[in-house]
């Protein structure tokens, strides 16, 4: 039985497209300082650090060696992890494993990305196998375009529904002081006016490239109760990987039916007695790279039946005031510093449980929240948070 642990400190930078005023390390430090302030701890209290970053997105290798001092891991044990889009959640998993094992009592988890340094699509393409992956590659966008088309055909969703997802994300982002894109979109037409990038994905169907960082402080049960009045318990984590090129080979080459989300849900829900996710969980912060993917993911995580994802958005169920809010922060569609993005999902879900969401606090009471991450060849990490164990 693993030891219990909680999130006792949450911090993030504001997110934006360019940060010339700070270097990579200094930017990351802002999130670390915010998390330490939130937990009312000093760097001396931190026993180990776990850092995530999507390596090569800054066109450099080993970003962690640049920021040992700034991010607070100088002279401390810890690991850097890079698992593509899920990196930020893999660092959360690392922190979870190490504290749950009893090895450390207080650990710092950091996700960071400074996307004004490199070229994201070139970096993603560079991760593909040279011959098979790169030949017909269109970066991540092309994959999500194919999924969108597939989703449209099989579920009956229309472009208007994707536009509704963006409108929800934008309304929520406008209430979140840290969010990147705050467009003030008024209508479905505003979204449908945006040009196609990779058909049928429009510019506004896709997430932006942001600079930003997010830090969390984990503490063992004994320490957590002393450090924080409102510890958020990390109830469980599930991680599932699969083989890159053959991502969709098991049943569906488009990747619409995904293996990893299926397996991750099955394990996580079973272990935690979740039979009806929308009833047993109060809120979700999911990693949705595109408007279409959000509706797709509703189905994969069993928030609704197959082919019904777009109905949740149409009925307003996943709105901030809705019965089952999804991404009250504005989500990845509004803010996407990739290495930090999954960490932000966990951070935002924890804020909702604490009731510290401020302007973007969900209307309903949140006792249990789910944070998910998606990345690489559709890898999945799911984190279950609770107000009390």
């Amino acid at each position: 039985m693993p030891n219990r642990l909680a999130i006792v400190g949450i911090g993030q930078t504001y997110h934006t497209s360019k940060r010339p005023d700070v270097n990579y390390a200094e930017m990351t430090r802002e999130a670390v300082m915010a998390a330490l302030a939130d937990a009312q701890l000093s760097i001396k209290d931190i026993e180990a650090t776990f850092m995530a970053n999507m390596e090569t997105f800054e066109a450099i290798y080993l970003p962690d060696h640049q920021m040992a001092a700034e991010a607070g891991f100088y002279g401390k044990p810890g690991l850097k992890v890079g698992t593509g889009g899920t990196s930020g959640a893999s660092a959360v998993a690392e922190g979870f494993y190490f504290v749950a094992s009893g090895l450390y009592d207080v650990a710092l988890v950091i996700g960071c990305e400074k996307q004004d340094c490199g070229d994201t699509t070139a970096a993603i393409s560079a991760a593909a196998t040279p011959i098979w992956g790169k030949g017909a590659t269109t970066g991540a966008i092309g994959e999500f375009a194919k999924q969108a088309l597939s989703y449209m055909k099989t579920s009956g969703a229309k472009e208007e529904h994707a536009a509704m997802v963006r409108l929800k994300a934008d309304r929520n982002a406008c209430r979140n002081p840290y969010a990147h894109l705050k467009l003030g979109l008024k209508s479905i037409e505003d979204v449908l006016k945006s040009p196609y990038l990779v058909w049928p994905l429009r510019l506004l169907d896709f997430c932006p490239q942001s600079c930003g960082a997010c830090a969390l402080i984990f503490a063992s049960e004994k320490r957590a109760k002393k450090i924080s009045k409102k510890p958020v318990w990390v109830a469980d984590i599930e991680t599932v990987h699969q083989e890159p090129f053959r991502a969709g080979s098991f049943g569906d080459p488009t990747g619409k039916e995904t293996y990893t989300q299926h397996v991750a849900c099955e394990r996580l829900y079973k272990r935690n007695g979740i039979t009806k996710p929308r009833r047993d969980i109060d809120l979700a912060e999911i990693y949705e790279p595109s408007n279409w993917e959000e509706m797709n993911l509703y189905e994969h995580f069993h928030f609704c039946g197959k082919g019904e994802g777009w109905k949740l958005i149409e009925k307003g169920i996943t709105e901030i005031e809705g019965e089952f809010p999804v991404n009250p922060s504005g989500g990845v569609l509004a803010t996407n510093p990739i290495g930090a993005t999954p960490t932000i999902r966990v951070a935002e879900a924890a804020l909702q449980i604490r009731g510290d969401g401020g302007e973007h606090q969900a209307t309903r009471e949140v006792k249990t929240a789910l944070a998910t991450a998606l990345g690489g060849p559709n890898w999945t990490v799911m984190t279950l948070l609770k107000r009390s164990l």
């Binding site: 010339p20 005023d21 066109a59 070229d119 699509t121 070139a122 970096a123 393409s125 560079a126 196998t129 040279p130 011959i131 098979w132 790169k134 030949g135 017909a136 269109t138 970066g139 966008i141 092309g142 375009a145 194919k146 088309l149 597939s150 055909k153 040009p195 196609y196 990038l197 990779v198 058909w199 049928p200 083989e243 090129f245 053959r246 969709g248 080979s249 098991f250 080459p253 488009t254």
Partner: protein, 172 residues
Amino acid sequence: MAKKKVKETTEKSPKEEPEYVRIKFNQPRRYDWSTGKYLGHFYAEAKENKKIVGNRCPKCKEIWLPPTPVCPKCKVDMGWDWRELPQTGTVFQYTYLVFPLWDPHYGERWANPYASGIIKLDNGVFYRHFLEEQDKEKLKEGMRVKAVWKEDYNERGQGPSDILYFKEIGKE
């Protein structure tokens, strides 16, 4: 390799104070990637015979493309059971690139627009490639297509790129 010095340039932020320095470093990194003997056989068949080949799992009998030394499903050694795949199929899924992306190999912008798709070959194996048809209105799922090869023997030897694109059957 030609002696070429790294271009390192600095650029000033716009006139507003304070001035921030941004240092640019643009240097392609070289690497050599070996196909190994399984993918190597695919290369050889493409170059010599203009054939698309996959290898078949002795246990589940599924044909894998790209060829693989170990069956991803059964985790058993694949052996050397090669099967030629049909060069005709239907467009299972496609997309259409509007935004010009970087070619990560050479740092040039790719020409656009272009269409790429997942083609279901006539024996049910899926294959990703470019499509000849560039007109979004004419692209459709279920479109019948066939592989078009590079005719010049000396130009082949580039594996999947030996097929230029998949072209609609019956369209000249």
